[in-house]
Every structure is written in structure tokens, then in C-alpha cells.
Symmetry: C2
Subunit: 354 residues, 2 copies
């Protein structure tokens, strides 16, 4: 049973990124020093190093869905962790990594490694979540030593209600997954329960209600907020009438995404203790980043607009509004939603859930 649990946001941009301040989706869960990743966008291995987390400590990677902005850093990370110039047939004493994701993941990893001629010093296993719409694995898991670096991944059948409850239980931690509404690919989420703590980390979704019950009383909920009723052109909430809000919400849902308000509403439904938002549109940069030299052009424009306050107040206004909108949907007294930034680290203390 882990003593210390924390999460570090490695990428908080939606697929409209990466941007100068936000990489695409990835999040590191730190369990007493062992690292589990949720999603692994392009650039995740660099984000780990930048966050001072050794990639060698990664033992499990959960992929919420196979869209490009959630999965393309996986093979580069694998080849770095298992760096080897010769393929190895010996599996003893070497690194071993477990990958979990929807049907298609095994094929994607295997074919990419094959076509790039990658050689690994270690073993990976891909566990695929069979769903009602995708009842068969993308390709069979290897039996015995037919593939030098690939272990025998599980084909995880869903329960009669389409969920994968407690598909893994070990060291006092239980992990469950369930499908979420999102366009195109099938999608799963990860809920990790350690005694006294429950973490609910969602992938992209326009409707997470399928796991009300499983996610109830989460000590921490991470929910996407791709859209919000705020933009650089309309910086004041008073400029948004109900009709415009309704339109934006419908647009987000049509693309399989949520507004900040919807994230708050879901936090309310499951009585979450804390709510962190991620997966932001590229129109919402990290406010702290605005003064960076990489943003010279934007800064200049910004300086012209706010001559007395060159330090990113426009972005600050937007991120505050996003937090406000989620907090309003949440409507839990004394609680405030937090808009995550890359490298933000949150500790989940024990015994938060009775």
C-alpha cells in the first residue's frame, strides 16, 4: 500500500496543441516513487525529464484512447526506457512495462516497433480492454517467447454492464475502467483506489455519467475542460449570453468534449472532494508562460493591449474565468476548481475518504 501518492500534470493541452506552454495529454502518478502514466502524448519523455522524474521509474502506462494527441509519445518513451542496441531474448532481470488501453493499442505498438526496427532491452506487455463494440483484441498476445520483447498481455473482458471493475488489484490498490462518451475511438478511464484515497482520471469526454457510482466520493477528479465561455475576443463573462453559452456547449459535445461548466457539474454528481481541469484549447495558454522569450510576438501584442501589465493578465483572466465556471457548475461551498498547468504537482494525502 503506497504511503505517498501525488500526480504531476505533464501535458494539459487538447489536440489543438502542443503549444509553447502546454504539451498534449500526459499525467504522472507517483506511488512512493514508482511512476504510472495516464496517456503519453508526443514529448512525454521530455516532460518527465523536465519535471525531474526519471523515465526509468515508469512501470505502467494507461492509455485513455488512441487519438494522436494521447498516444504518440509511447513508442519513443519505450525505446528510451529500454534502450538497447541489440534485441534481447533474455527476460530476466530486465525492465518490464505494462501498457493498458483500448483495442488497437497492441497492434499500434507492435507495428511501430517493427517498422522502425527498434531494439529493446526489456519486455513490454499490452493489455487490451475488450468492449461491447470491440469484442476482439487487435492482435493476439504472444504466447511464450514468440516475440523477444513482448510479454503476454491480457485481453480484459468487460463486465455485463460494459465496465472493467477492479481489473487489477495489488499492493492495496484497485484499478477500474469504464467507457466514456467521446467521438471515434473507444475510450476508457482509470480510477485508482488506494485505502483512504480514490483518484478518478478521465480521458476526453462529453459525458462521464456512465461511471457515476464507481467514481463517487473521489478524493480527486481530473476532468477535461476543452472549451469555456471565455476567449481572447470576449474576455468578460457578462459578454456571454445564455444563447451563446448553449451554442458553445453543443459544439463541445458534438466534438466529444466538455466545457468547464460541465466538468463542474460532473464533480457535483460524484461529490468529488477536489477538481482539477485539463485538456485546454490552445486559446488558453498557461498564464505564467506569457513572459517567456518564446512568446515574443504574443507578448508584444499583449503589451500593446495592456501597457501597464505586461505579465500575461489576459491569460490570467481567462484561466480564472474557466475556474469560476467549473466552480459554479460544481456548486460545493468552500471548494474551488483548479485549472492545471504543465508541471503542476498535487499530493493526495491518505485518509481523505472515510
Amino acid at each position: 500500500m503506497p504511503n505517498r501518492i501525488s500526480i504531476t500534470f505533464l501535458g494539459t493541452s487538447s489536440g489543438s496543441g502542443p503549444t509553447l506552454s502546454r504539451h498534449c495529454s500526459s499525467l504522472a502518478l507517483n506511488l512512493d516513487g514508482e511512476i504510472w502514466l495516464v496517456d503519453c502524448a508526443e514529448g512525454t519523455q521530455l516532460r518527465l525529464v523536465q519535471a525531474d522524474i526519471s523515465p526509468a521509474r515508469v512501470t505502467k502506462i494507461f492509455i485513455t484512447h488512441l487519438h494522436v494527441d494521447h498516444v504518440m509519445g509511447l513508442v519513443p518513451l519505450l525505446t528510451t526506457i529500454m534502450f538497447g542496441l541489440e534485441p534481447s531474448n533474455s527476460k530476466s532481470g530486465q525492465r518490464s512495462i505494462d501498457l493498458y488501453g483500448p483495442v488497437g493499442l497492441r497492434q499500434l505498438v507492435r507495428i511501430t516497433l517493427q517498422l522502425t526496427g527498434a531494439t529493446l532491452a526489456g519486455t513490454f506487455s499490452v493489455h487490451e480492454f475488450l468492449a461491447v463494440q470491440t469484442p476482439v483484441a487487435s492482435c493476439p498476445a504472444p504466447i511464450s517467447d514468440t516475440r523477444p520483447n513482448e510479454g503476454h498481455g491480457r485481453d480484459i473482458q468487460c463486465d455485463s454492464d460494459g465496465k472493467w471493475k477492479n481489473f487489477q488489484e495489488a499492493s492495496g490498490i484497485t484499478i477500474s475502467a469504464a467507457p466514456l462518451e467521446h467521438r471515434g475511438n473507444s475510450l476508457c478511464w482509470v480510477s485508482i483506489s488506494a485505502p483512504g484515497r480514490k483518484l478518478v482520471i478521465l480521458g476526453d469526454t462529453s459525458d462521464a455519467s456512465s461511471f457515476i457510482g464507481l467514481a463517487d466520493d473521489a478524493s480527486l477528479l481530473v476532468h477535461e475542460a476543452t472549451n469555456a465561455y471565455i476567449s481572447p475576443r470576449k474576455l468578460k463573462s457578462s459578454q456571454w449570453d445564455e444563447n451563446e453559452k448553449e451554442k458553445l456547449r453543443a459544439k463541445a459535445i458534438s466534438r466529444g468534449h466538455s466545457t468547464a461548466e460541465m466538468a463542474g457539474e460532473f464533480a457535483k454528481q460524484i461529490r468529488a472532494r477536489r477538481l482539477y481541469l485539463n485538456h485546454f484549447s490552445s486559446m488558453y495558454p498557461d498564464p505564467a508562460w506569457n513572459t517567456d522569450s518564446g512568446l515574443r510576438r504574443k507578448s508584444k501584442k499583449h503589451r500593446e493591449r495592456y501597457p501597464d501589465d505586461p505579465k500575461g493578465s489576459e491569460n490570467q483572466i481567462m484561466m480564472h474565468a474557466i475556474q469560476d465556471q467549473a466552480t459554479e457548475g460544481w456548486s460545493q461551498e468552500g471548494s474551488r476548481a483548479i485549472a492545471a498547468t504543465d508541471f503542476m504537482c498535487v499530493e493526495i494525502r491518505g485518509h481523505e475518504v472515510s
Copy 2:
């Protein structure tokens, strides 16, 4: 015929990266504002934005070989350039990108797009270079409109000597390719000749002699220098005896790579006018980066070692030594090899070659 030609190094690390200061391989060629890329490692799209080059200006991408550290940014870049939430059947008036690379590239791009459910607003075409060892394309190029986003790429046959001379001629620019010695995958290089200018950009290699002749009198040669007779533990050249140098050179060659000295020797063989080195081991960071906050730990260690000079002198010593070793191999009076860094930009003025 382009008036202004420049190159910008976007990633100068070998596959032991990415590191905090160097991304893996990618290089942008700027032809009067139109961008051609050579290689496209993970993170290339972010590097483009950081270098203030709009990804939308990319029209051609040349892949030297399919190793993970040269190719994994390709699909993420494509989906950004051709961002679309719906697949488009109409090819008129939309973006179009040409990809060139060894056999396997077409399959890698196609399968990745398919498994990730990517939707593109535009067309890409993959042109594969058929070699003696790989005489058949990885999969047939689509004919007419069988695949909504994929145009009819060419299967480019090699000449009787195994090279692809002048496989493309347009707007006063001629492009040639030839195979290079490198482990595993087949490999090609790109030589671009515009009137008065000849650019020779190599992929990974331990022996580039196959295109002496084609590359002669290059105005600019970009050559890898994965290894060199210098390390943080042995900072002085006088510490390296001939036996140790020979061993390191043999090790580089056994892995399909070159030392800085070998890069210089090749520049001499083709009488290159300028020599830029790239593809450095992770032990050789960009010296300018050492003071960055991201390198806190290294800086601390460094500060202890060099209490009077905390600004990266160790890395400076190493990069100077690498340049010295290449310059010595080159042995052309008045000329000095340059170790490239990410974002370094070099203009190639017209009429350098008579």
C-alpha cells in the same frame, strides 16, 4: 528558383535523447518561405513553433531512415497541419504534403493514421525509395480516390548504381538521394542543388563514401558526429591516447555512427565549403543551456566542480573539442567545423559554387 535558402536545426540529439537542450533529429530548410523538413523526430512540431516557423508552411518532408528518433513526430505534425475533425473527400484547394523516405514509411504513416482514427483536412502522398535490398514498396500507393486523404505516391526505383539521382527536378532545384551505411534500416540522404548552391544533408552513417561524386564541392555539408574523443570524465584531449581513439571510432562504426573526426574526413573528401555537425550523444549538451533552470541538478554538480565559472564551461570545452576534432579531420586551411545547436540558423548565399 529560390532566392533565399537557409537551414534551421530543430533537433541535434542522437537517439540517446531527447535531452533538455537538444531534441532528436529534425532540420528545416527554408526556400523563400516554403519549408522542407529533413527528418521529423518526436517534438518537431513544437520545435517549429518555438523557432517561429509556422508548421503550415511545410510542404515536403524527407525521412532519412525509419528509426524512432527520426520519424515519430511525423504523424502528429501531419494531423496538426491538416487539422480536421471530419475526414474530407474533396482534395481541391486543401493542403497537400509530400513525404519521401525508405520502404516502410508509407505503411507506418497509413497504419498509424488508421489505428489512431485520425481525420485530416488535406492530402499526403508517400514516395518510397526502392533499394536493392528492398525492391518492393511496403504497400501499394492508392490509385484515384480509394483513400480519402492519401494521394498517389511514387515508388522511386534506384539507378543501376543503387542511387536515386535527380529524382526530383522543379523550380531550379534538383534533389538526389543515395544509400548510406547504417545499422538495420535502409537509409537515404538528401542532396539539394539549386543554381550556385549545393546542400548535402546526411542521415546517420558510419560511411558516406557511396556518394562521393554526387556530393562533391557542397556549399554546405551536414554530417552526424554521434561520438568524439571527449567526455565529462576525460575533458582534455591529451588524456586520449591513439589506442583509446581507435577503440571509440570502432565502437561508433559498429553502431552505424561517426566520430567528429570522421565527419571532418568526409568533408575533406568532397571538398565541402562548410561543415555543420549534428546528432550528438546525450553527453554533449548545448553549452548555452546549462544555466537554464531545467538543469538545476546538473548545474549544482557543475558549480561544485567549477566554483568560479558556473556557466557551462564543461560543456563549452567539450563542444570546442568536438569542433577541433572535425576541423582537424577536414584539414582545410581557414575553415572550421561548427557544432550545431537546436535553433541554429544558417543562410546559404547564392553563387557559392561556381
